[in-house]
């Protein structure tokens, strides 16, 4: 019971983090056609900015998270305008510039703060939630609830607001949307900014639950790619499902296998899954 509860809570927390990062990655890919490999690095920088505000400047953690979201969101707008928009439709140059951004961000953080010494954001909430025989740390509850709220807002935004509907229109047919007067560049800039802000939140939470490292984005990028593959391209439900599957695999398997074997088994499952269903759970074929 104790073990099962622990595993399911850990799965939920991991899934929440994966979904936050993968959502921006998937949205940007399906709407603007940009394969933003720098998304993992942006997630990492989000964590470090939060650390800077919360620890060095002594601000409240939640204020620091909000500031980090704003800074990274603005960086996302910059990225879309000056790094991705000039090369829209040119997959190679987009990938090359994303790699350059990864190298710049990782090296920059490495030079500025260094990789020695443990850096962690102060915990978001302390104590444990006790309900009868069940006892969970408040931190995990807060993380999962906050992520759930953010995702609910995102889904409301995409399905109910004008901008969200325009996003869907572009992802279905860019030319048709342009003909209807949708300003495609503005919408992709908005998507990039929102996606980066969500990744920054994930970076803050991960930095609070575990430690920060300049290279923590690499693993997250792999996870985001896997989620997009599992869930299928162009489907938000797919991202949620893929994130949950991956969260369960990554939280449950280490109880029975060694860490490296977990990675291999998880990836093997994904490869086999893809061979039989290349379009993912809900997505369309590319």
């Amino acid at each position: 019971m104790e073990l099962a509860l622990g595993i399911s809570m850990n799965s939920l927390v991991l899934a929440a983090m994966y979904i936050l990062v993968a959502l921006g990655f998937a949205l940007l890919f399906s709407i603007a056609g940009i394969l933003n490999f720098a998304h993992g690095a942006i997630y990492m920088v989000g964590g470090y900015i939060c650390y800077q505000f919360a620890v060095e400047y002594g601000l409240n953690v939640w204020v620091a998270v909000l500031l980090s979201m704003i800074v990274i969101g603005a960086f996302g707008l910059f990225l879309e305008r000056f790094c991705f928009r000039p090369f829209s439709g040119d997959m190679f140059r987009t990938i090359v510039i994303a790699i350059a951004i990864i190298v710049i961000l990782e090296t920059g953080i490495n030079v500025l703060v260094g990789s020695v010494g443990i850096r962690a954001i102060p915990i978001l909430a302390s104590g444990r939630l006790v309900m009868g025989p069940i006892s969970i740390t408040w931190e995990r509850v807060v993380t999962v609830v906050t992520t759930g709220a953010l995702l609910a807002v995102m889904i409301w935004f995409i399905n109910r607001t004008k901008q969200g509907l325009q996003m869907q229109a572009i992802s279905q047919d860019p030319e048709g949307a342009t003909l209807q007067g949708v300003r495609i560049h503005q919408i992709s800039a908005l998507t990039c900014g929102l996606g980066c802000a969500l990744a920054a939140v994930a970076g803050c939470f991960m930095g609070s639950m575990f430690n920060l490292s300049p290279f923590m984005g690499d693993l997250m990028l792999v996870k985001a790619t896997e989620i997009v593959i599992i869930g299928g391209i162009g489907s938000i439900g797919g991202v949620l499902a893929g994130g949950l599957v991956l969260g369960v695999i990554d939280a449950a398997l280490p109880q029975f296998l060694s860490g490296a074997a977990t990675q291999a088994v998880g990836l093997g499952v994904i490869i086999v899954f893809l061979l039989f269903r290349p379009q993912g759970f809900f997505g369309r074929l590319v």
Binding site: V96, N110, Q263
Partner: protein
Amino acid sequence: MKLPIRGGSKLTKPAVYAGLVVILAVLPLFMTASYYLHIFIMAFIFIVATVSLRTIFISGQISLAHAAFMAIGGYTSAILAKEFGWTPWVCMPLGALMAMGIGILIGYIFARLRALLFAMLTLLFGIVILEVSSVAGRWTMGYSGLTGIPALFIGSRVPYYYFFLGLTVLSLLALYRFEFCRLGINLKAIAQSNLAASSVGINETANRVLAMAVGCFFAGLAGAGYAHYTLVLSHASFSLLQSIYLTMYMIVGGVGSFAGPIIGAAILIIIPELFRGLKEFSPFIFAGILLIMVYILPQGLVSLPRLIRSAFTERKKGKRIAHAP
């Protein structure tokens, strides 16, 4: 992506290449510092790997697991040499054949996936191979790294330099022949339009698997050479990042021509090494080259001469117009 079907037919080109090889061959007489030899040897190894990556690329697929195939070749060769005491000269081709075998298997399984999905799946495959290499601890020594690999030559780096120079020249000749013979042209036809190619009787699957086989063979050879040169193989030697770097070498040099990956690998390996004094700042040099390439030279470094030439002719034209009454 338009790929040229025929290479230059003028006699000057082979002469230039032969001259380059001769210069590289006499270089160790003047450049005795073993550190510089090391940089050149690494450049040779990665030139072979990058050009073999382009062989897969001309069939229209991007493999992001190329460093993993280097790892397969390297680990196979190193383990055979270490555990069974075979001479590295036998183990290296065996390692390359092993990489080729796995390449054929992967190429066959993934053959029906196109472009982006193929790239993503090979990416995952590369990670799986690395994880497997760290799980199989008895043979590969996992994260701590495989040490005590038998060396090809004892002592100085000069014999290594000549060995890798020869290996590179032979591999490049073979890959060049392959690209411009009928098989290579078939691959380019598939890349341009798989439907049109199949309709004239080119077997798409067989040809893509063939491209994987050839590409992975040379990647395995490069990896095996790397193993017997550095004598240490670790989890980090052939990471995901290395696969991405190989792709960067290819794109920065220019995917449209055979010389592109050679120039790209040579420049991106040698120039950051020149700035080694900057220590942790040196990755900025790599990123800087990428940015310059993306914003100024979208066709890759091979397009630089053409760009300069066209700039000159433009200026002449401009003058003529300016002087016209």
